[in-house]
């Protein structure tokens, strides 16, 4: 996909959002129709107008536009791999708890990103988890995600 096409899709999405937002204020209570509903209507209208203007500029500049490819990542395997690992990590936190989920996430990510030294992977993982335990849990008493499975 080219950058221009991605721009077009994003602007169209925002335009739809603007219309939906504007329309949604009709369901606001009557007491706020002159205050917060007005504010939200203004936001919807302003977004709609600006998106329309930007789309016009998009069409106007189409002739001289560069057909530059949209490159999300320089290293796609690492990029998408990290993103997937992050999503899996976030999903596993309420199930496995912070320590177990992190003890799996950290080494896997390090391996994905090219680290091949077992000692540095183990030491970094252990060091980070110990640091979190001492500072977050013991010192600051910040609650960490707890697992429901164990």
């Amino acid at each position: 996909m080219t950058k221009r096409l991605a721009e077009f899709f994003i602007l169209s999405l925002f335009l739809v959002l603007a219309v939906l937002l504007y329309g949604s204020t009709a369901s606001y209570p009557a007491s706020v129709q002159g205050s917060t509903a007005m504010y939200v209507r203004f936001l919807g209208m302003a977004l709609g107008l600006l998106c329309a203007l930007e789309l016009l500029l998009w069409v106007k500049n189409r002739a001289r536009a560069k057909t530059e490819k949209m490159q999300l990542a320089v290293a796609p395997v690492k990029f998408w791999g990290l993103l997937i690992l992050l999503v899996v990590y976030a999903c596993s936190l309420p199930l496995a708890g912070f320590y177990l989920a992190s003890a799996i996430f950290l080494p896997l990510t390090m391996l994905l990103l090219g680290s091949r030294k077992p000692l540095s992977i183990s030491l970094t993982t252990a060091g980070v988890l110990l640091f979190v335990f001492l500072v977050f849990v013991k010192l600051l008493e910040v609650p960490l995600p707890e697992g429901s499975l164990f």
Binding site: K3, A6, E7, I10, F14, L17, S24, Y28, S31, V32, G34, S35, T36, M38, Y39, V40, L43, G44, A46, L47, L50, C51, E54, L57, N61, M70, Q71, L72, A73, V74, K78, F79, L82, L83, L86, V87, A90, L93, P94, F98, S102, F105, L106, T109, M110, L113, G114, S115, S120, T124, V128, V132, V135, F136, L140, E141, V142, P143, L144, P145
Partner: protein, 503 residues
Amino acid sequence: MILQALQELFTPLSLLAIFIGTTSGVIVGGMPGLTATMAVALLIPITFALEPLTGLLLMGGVYCGAMYGGSIPAILLRTPGTPAAVATAMEGYPMTQSGRGGLALKVSVVASFTGGIFSAFVLLLIAPILATFALTFGPPEYFLLAILGLAGIVSMADDENRLVKALISGLIGLILAVVGTDPMSGMLRYTMGLTDLFDGVAFMPALIGMFSISQMLELTGAESIVADTSKITRIKSEPLPKGIFKPIGLGSLVGTIVGILPGEGATIAAFLSYNIARRRSKNPKLYGKGNPEGIAAAEAGNNGCVGGSLVPTLTLGIPGNSVAAALLGGLLIHGLIPGPELFTKYGVMTYAFILSLFIANLVFLVLGLFMAPYFARIALTPIALLIPVVCLFSVLGSYAMNNSVLDIFVALICGFVAILLQKTGFSLGALILGLILGPIAETGFAQALIMGHGSYAIFFDRPQAIALWVIILLLLVPPVYQIYKRQRAATTTGTTPENSMDE
């Protein structure tokens, strides 16, 4: 009374409390997701066991330290430790990438110190007068203050095309801020039935996602944060850039004023200072590419907020921001009721507390200057180890704010969307500005319209409002004119505005 306060202050226990408080503040502020408010609130039960003054000194130290500490990961890893450090990240991280992270840290600590000292002086000398002035601000003025902050969006745009995109980004931020409970009716809006969204989209996870996670995803294709690692070794010898004290002075003043206004936080102070410094700079084009002036203004601004926010807190019992509110809780627990008595009956303790802010600023200055070269070496950490660790702390930071797993997903979505938006020319800075200022703008706008019985005249009929309109226009007209001029020049020469800028 001040001499007595000094005597109380220069005891080993008091000095130790300030040192421990400030150092802990720097550490807490340096961790994404742990804010100064959280640290001060956590300290309140600990201070029960301490003498009231020792407890206050500890809390004051944490406040000062945390405001500075937020800049360290912002500069080195583009992960703002506190929301107030976002503007710092925008300039600091490009400096780290070019091997000048040490200088960025140095500028940050000097600016934070100056802003902190200036605002402490203001607090010491003219607190009651300024507190009375702050009380004259009503909802219309708060709405205009938010608009003043949003005017920064225009500065983030370089040409007509980017201006529209920056405005769209700002509006998206404002729209995201609408999610949650309606401030007027209590109605739930766009929450999709998720209880975690009842208080709105938490901006710390959004910030972490947009700045930290997106950066870590981008770094997957790089070998190291710094292109030329040999530059890291030259950190110690680099002097402060010339003319840096102008944005520092500006930031200190703006930060103190914004801090005095009840409810206005360090984030707004930092953005506003950054924006004004950018407008007044001789080289505005260097902003966003690693300009130390931007760091100086933003850091002086958010640390200037410390003393400023304590003005209404100590004199009127109205906290200047959320950290000051937590600190106010600490004062009340120790039986110290804000007001005139605090400066008369409990004057020794109050002045000792105010004077301790000077020492706390000195502590983090020494700490920052001494440690900057060592902190900067973080940039040398291999990417394969750095990314997982930063991602873990980003996830933890997002969760820790509200103990919400949903916030982690907010951060991840924001991280991915940030990359898409950035690649297509939208402005993340503008989006964040909208998200942060949205609640203030909406509440101010709605309350003002109710006060004015639906008439928009309320936004123009008070001298304070007129003064704010003038400042807004002064901030808006020059950049819009510049963009228009560039556009015309580009049309005449037949080049695109972007090309004409490059030339």
